[in-house]
Amino acid sequence: MADFLLELLSEEIPARMQAKARVDLERLFVAQLSDAGLKAGAVTVYSTPRRLALIAKDLPAQTEAVSEEAKGPPESAPDQAVDGFCRKNGVTRDQLEVRDVKGRPTLFAVINKPGRATSDVLSEAIPAIIKAFPWPKSMRWGDASASTESLRWVRPLSGIVAILGDDLVACEIDGVTSGYETVGHRFHHEGMITIGNAGDYAEKLRACHVLVDQAEREAIVRDGAAKAASDGGLELVSDEGLVIENAGLTEWPVPLLGGFDPAFLDVPEEVIQLTARVNQKYFICRDKSGKLAPNFVCTANIDASDGGKAITAGNEKVLTARLSDAKFFWELDQKTALEDHAKKLSNIVFHEKLGTVADKVERVAKLAERLASLEGTGLHRANPEQTQLAARLCKADLVTEMVGEFPELQGLMGGYYAEKEGLPIAVSNAIRDHYKPVGQGDDVPTDPVTVCVSLADKLDTLVGFFAIGEKPTGSKDPFALRRAALGIIRILIERDLTFPVKRTVASALSEIIPLPSLADSTTGLEIAKEYMGDGKLGTAFAMEAVKKSTIAAKSVTAEIEARGPIIDDVLEFLTDRLKVQQREAGVRHDLIDAVFALGGEDDLVRLLARVKALQAFVVTEDGVNLLAGYKRASNILKKELGEGSAPAQAGAHLPFEQTDATAGDGLLPSQEYSSVKTLSYTPEKAEKALIDALDAAQPNVTAAIAAEAFEKAMTALADLRAPIDQFFEDVTVNDSDDDKRTARLGLLARFRAAVHQVADFSKIEG
């Protein structure tokens, strides 16, 4: 048993790549060992900016000898086949054994593989690991790079230390050969260090100012930064990301406290923090009262000869320059009112087919105001004037210097500038937060003004890009439309906003592609706009309305017709995103499909409420049995009527529900059967019971759905469970009497249609 040390020395490895590199090194090493039938004891991996290292404990000196058997052709096979088999297995003919396989003498080769020296295995494994290493970005360098086939590494690979026990593991890759020697700290130690074995590696490096264990360096940064702050009477704003990054940038971390001119504290805290953190990798500090202090902690990579005075002074100078830039922007931006900044948005093209940012802002303002007037959604609590104002100013900060410098501060800066101008708090909040929610963990706005502006902005983006045919495809989503859609969904759901998405989408679209203007009489157009959102039938209504108006409006009807598919596409995209989001949240996908398959519903909150009610129902005993009954009925209908899978229709809330519902199963027989009212015979008891139950349940289900009481609808459906069970128990559907058969199939169709009012049960698994 011996311990193995591998060090791959290179020029500075980016800090952000080191954690994954350690994992990859261990994974690749263990895989190489196990391919050779070796297993190490504990494996430890280290990284510094200049090296990746691995120590594997207790490696056996040799791999185990193995004996493998290969079955060959029958003994009687032609020489050619037998020779081929021998070649393949590296044996000679006289080494083959003959064994009986199902009565046939068959040739076998027994291949004895002796154990290999572990160091030989490692000699091959090391170059293989280096070649296979999955750096996020890699490069070529030096003389060898005259060919594009040359070795790639994250930065030039400069050395390999590979020692098993006390012995060198000899290996070579692209001119880099293994040895005992490595380097210490770039400035604290000149010349090479000779490593004896895995046991003295870390200590020899430590003596040369290299702490090879990242956990140790992280602890020094974490605790040292906190101590540097507290020594100065301050409290460090802890930031684990910065701890890891600074540990990845240093081999010998030395935290140092510095300061800056308190005059810079006029600049918003976020700006100071961003400048310090992103540009300089400094920690920031607070004073005892919790206010941002004019101090920072930087992490040097050296024990400087003057104790760090020059380094601190240098870093202070850099931060001062950065902050003076920020202060310059902060003051310059405020010299112009947001309203005037906003005027410059007309110089910025949002998209060549969607106009300038100013055009977008105009659309968003109109849409936001319309949202603010939607009754019964909670949004009408938003003050319409404030909503308009916020929407008109929400993008103004895009032309400010500060956002030009720090794009991630968009929104936030607008909010600050609005506040400084003395605009109402609801307006500055909306400007600040209208991009929310940005990521998955981000908050959803609560203030009604913010919600209106946020929704309007996202809807305009989504609908706009769909209108010009820029839909996301596969992994390509250059305009971040998935994020916009998810933002809309989260706002609707988390703020419980029940309103007709389709009509809102149509409304957004009418701002993007305005309907041709209709001079004075706009009645037809108004009606058209009103109904456009309601799909095919709505479009028909709209066209009718336009025709009836006094103006010949061919172009308008053409326009209306053309935008139907766009609206449908947006709706489909939104529901798809909702599905994905719900699936990720752990909701059963078949239940989502069952509810979504009904179509017609464009109120996401209602859709979701229905999915949830269904989820609760299908696991109850009633639910399980009703589903079984449904499947049986459905199968019979399919078999007897040769139906395909019957598409369901829901939409109890839609005005044209009756029309659509009769078209229900899409096939004439069902329609005919389900409308049978009078029977030519006396029904059997169970048959009568089912008819009565359906008569009773159907209006209850319809009423419950109309009232959005989905649990109630489920309860009403549950009343059908006993009668359907009994029906199948007692009644023969496929009766020889044609009248009876027809009537009973009709009854099953009716039962199925009743269930479909709630969800398409055919999609439910189990």
């Binding site: 970005k137 490069m139 790079s145 870093n315 100078k317 830039d325 300038t356």
Partner: protein, 268 residues
Amino acid sequence: MEMGAGTFHTATTLRALGPDPWNAAFVQPCRRPTDGRYGENPNRLQHYYQYQVILKPSPPNIQQLYLDSLTAIGIDPMLHDIRFVEDDWESPTLGAWGLGWEVWCDGMEVTQFTYFQQMGGFDCKPVAGELTYGLERLAMYIQGVDSIYDLDYNGNGVSYGDIFLDNEKQMSEWNFEVANTETLFDLFNKAVGECENCLEAKLPLPAYEQAIKASHVFNLLQARGVISVQERASYMGRVRDLAKGSCEAYMAKNAEDWKLRHPKWSAA
């Protein structure tokens, strides 16, 4: 010629192509209109100097050569914190990229250090190492001054500010507020046209100069704030096509000679 960085110089961009070794060092005046601060920022200017070094192929001891050069000009690495911080370089307008670092001295970026991987869309074979020193910043360290404008320019009473402060104030105003954008758009289109003209005549060097001109005019338009995020991509695409075209023409013009002298070399 106005250019944003020493990298744009033919001695860097074009010489990074092809198999011939190339070692060059030169001072490059740079203009970056959007970096103008009206002379109010102590270390940010729209016009400054770079010391540009290119070593091809990159020598194995290039980092040490670089560190020795810092020591040589008076920066003590035991007193200052010198670090190589990841900064990959990409120039969409040159169709080029490389991996490397920005070198920090006490938190200030004093050098850009890049291993060119591609230039004008072509793989660099072999790879060149590029060192771009920020001359003013290094001088500030050595002279111990807090502002670029306080640098002693000639050891005889003339400061950097005496020479450049007015220039920064006036150029910032022009870059951001005054430059006639119609004229700029016109200049851009003319440079594009002339570049195409040169490419047609198979003259890569003048073609490339026109590409650099277009690139600088584009930067001025950016400073004037008249190019939107969306348009930006399309303008950059046009400049990239010119730069790439020039690189292609350069490769084509030299390919035969290169192959003759480096039989194993191939462009692809």
